[in-house]
Assembly symmetry: C2
Homo-oligomer: 423 residues x 2
């Protein structure tokens, strides 16, 4: 007997049949005695189709109007889902982001939630109805315009609503059975994790694991809201994302929870940079001003003879040409020798709260890489993460080697991957 917020992505409600399956699952939760709020994404490829339509009109659609357009997608899915639930004999009411009280700033296409005032949702729950809420959207505080939350938006809506309603759990339904110790497509013996901490999940999300988006995990951590990541295609228990590993969990707690990998980055190296103070700041400020997120940075010790050093950094490959263009413009001012651009890199990250109390993780890891003949090009660490950059061609081999080195392999294949992913 509690309040459960469930989020279903686009692939879970891709057509009428899928919609009816989801409705049955929601009704089963309701029948079990819980109050239920459902956050839903647009059906299947609807969002892409709407973007296509916009691009037929103009290559650069205005943000306000694009948000108005895209929010039609969730409007369709939430109304249909409410109909499907009512058809099973249970009361259901659909609400737009605005009606659900999701108040955001005015940054169209990537609005941030400022406040959630779910008065109408609470009212619906008081009347014993199931509330269906459009994910991904809100209304701006200043201009009262419709906004969208950008990537991972529906997950964020679900967690934000769950926090505001003080729900017992936010269930994120997806097309995999949970969070795995590595990508099952690369490591078939990857284990499904029973639970991970918010910190671990944040590092996993930031390191390329695509199950949950960074923003929604940050939101859940701030409000200490448990997330349960599970499959909409099975009834299996999934992965819990919580503040601390459950009691007794430490006994069997692995040092490393999981291994994430990322092939979407590129590396920029600025060769022969004069080693004087302020130069690195100048470069990275210019890049930050262009709204480009940099991931790892490495600067070598400068050669005594020349006073010159090399600076390398990684960034999303999609930002590559923009970033090199910005650096190029600084050549006259700074006086470096040349720029190298490399989009054949791969990143591997080892993540685990357990490594805090276990020295020797780095040694074990590097030994495994050496055995697998993987050359490490860059290294970056946090308290619960070690990331390396290697050749993209070596990445699969590196992931498998690390997974085995930390004894993460399951006795049998656990993962089933069901379909595409929602937003």
């Amino acid at each position: 007997m509690g309040l459960i917020v469930q989020k279903y992505g686009g692939s879970s409600v891709a057509d009428a049949e899928a919609m009816k399956r989801v409705a049955s699952r929601i009704v089963a939760t309701k029948k079990a005695g819980h109050s239920v709020v459902v956050v839903v994404s647009a059906m299947g490829d609807t969002t892409d189709e709407l973007i296509d339509l916009a691009n037929q009109i103009t290559p650069l659609p205005a943000g306000r109007e694009l948000d108005m357009l895209l929010t039609a997608g969730e409007r369709i899915s939430m109304a249909l889902l409410a109909m499907a639930i009512k058809n099973l004999g249970f009361e259901a009411l659909s609400f737009t982001g605005s009606q659900a009280g999701v108040i955001t700033d005015s940054k169209h296409g990537r609005a941030r939630i400022i406040d959630v005032s779910p008065g109408r949702i609470q009212e619906a729950l008081n009347q014993d109805a199931i509330a269906i809420v459009a994910g991904f959207q809100g209304i701006s505080q200043d201009t009262k315009d419709v906004t969208t939350l950008g990537r991972g938006g529906s997950d964020t809506t679900a967690v934000a609503l769950a926090a505001a309603l003080e729900a017992d759990v936010c269930e994120i339904y997806t097309d995999v059975d949970g969070v795995f110790s590595a990508d099952p497509r690369i490591v078939p013996t990857a284990r499904k994790l029973k639970s991970v901490t918010y910190e671990e999940m944040l590092e996993l999300a930031a390191s390329g694991a695509k199950v949950l988006h960074l923003r929604c995990v940050e939101y859940a951590r701030r409000f200490n809201l448990p997330i349960h990541v599970r499959s909409s295609f099975s009834n299996l228990e999934g992965t819990w994302v919580v503040a601390d590993q459950p009691e007794g969990g430490n006994m069997e707690q692995a040092i490393i929870s999981g291994i994430a990998h990322d092939k979407s980055e590129a590396k920029v190296t600025i060769v022969g940079v004069p080693d004087r103070s302020g130069v690195a700041a100048r470069i990275f400020q210019s890049i930050a001003d262009a709204d480009i997120n940099i991931d790892m940075i490495v600067q070598n010790v400068s050669a005594a003879a020349t006073g010159l050093t090399d600076i390398s950094f990684t960034l999303p490959r999609t930002e590559g040409s923009k970033a090199t263009g910005i650096v190029q413009k600084l050549q006259g001012e700074i006086g470096f020798q040349s720029i190298q651009y490399d989009d054949q890199i791969g990143k591997l990250s080892l993540i685990g709260a357990g490594m805090r109390s276990h020295p020797g993780v780095t040694a074990t890891f590097f030994a495994a890489m050496a055995d697998a003949e993987v050359n490490i090009e860059m290294i970056s660490t946090s308290e619960i993460r070690i990331s390396i950059v290697c050749r993209q061609a070596d990445l699969k081999r590196a992931v498998k080697a690390a997974h085995s080195a930390f004894e993460l392999d399951a006795d049998q294949v656990e993962a089933v991957v069901y379909g595409g992913s929602g937003r």
Copy 2:
């Protein structure tokens, strides 16, 4: 220099190309120095496709959720149209029915407008922007739920907004060049009318002419708002719907403005009804209680010998079986002999404010019918209309004969029919 409200139906914005064409036309009006508010319907067949989706989920979708679903249609078209206008270098902002202040009652699927508070539209106009408003939709006063206005809804939205904004004219763009003296598909020499009065347009709409819906004409008459019905595919002047024929118009004013016809009705005859007071009231009250609109009613003088009479009435054919079922149930109580049902009828209506001051219209009309060998089965008249019911097979011949008898034929073919029609 005035304020013009333009309404474009679904066929005018069926795809990206059509949308761009409409955008150019809107911008041309703006360039001419006018303030412009645009009401737009859903693109092409979007509404039907959404209804199909709903029917895949349930045969009886809940009204509230169906309205939520269908309003996604205008949301898509209005956002795209705003993008197309901005792409031409003019500021445009789209607004939902709710944002535009269209306040309705709570009757989902056929809501009536209670009030229009277009504060945000006025604000957009003050900022020199073109306001794009979703047709067909509003928000209920009591429950703050999204509602739709039912048939002819977008026309009604346009006229209601124009009235609230005190616009100079409401231009209704459609796929014909205006209102014609008869359906050009039946009478190729039908004339485009330069203007008709609200009264005439109401009678035309009620008698089967599909260019404008009854509701929007009633609304325009109440606020004395001029409507200009014209084609979105040409730049021709269309037909003005106004309070009075323009000055001097009387000189060349025809007695009859137009001839409407309707093949969508059926006739029910109750045979051998006891001719005592209260019987007809009992029958028609029962039918009215079932929300069925009756059109014409004829009761014969009762035969002296039997004290029995026949009562005939016409109604939309779609309501036929429901109405006969209701009457059947009254047989025991009233004691009539039998029910006859006839769905092979056609209705022809002669409409013209001029007939008020011209006696002999009826005689000319009946003579034309007799010459054309059309048998008149029922007759109904108002101050500016004469309607008859005949065999459906005779209807075309009857329309042509009446058109000629009142000298309505143009010297040449004026009408061009361009495509499907919006809602």
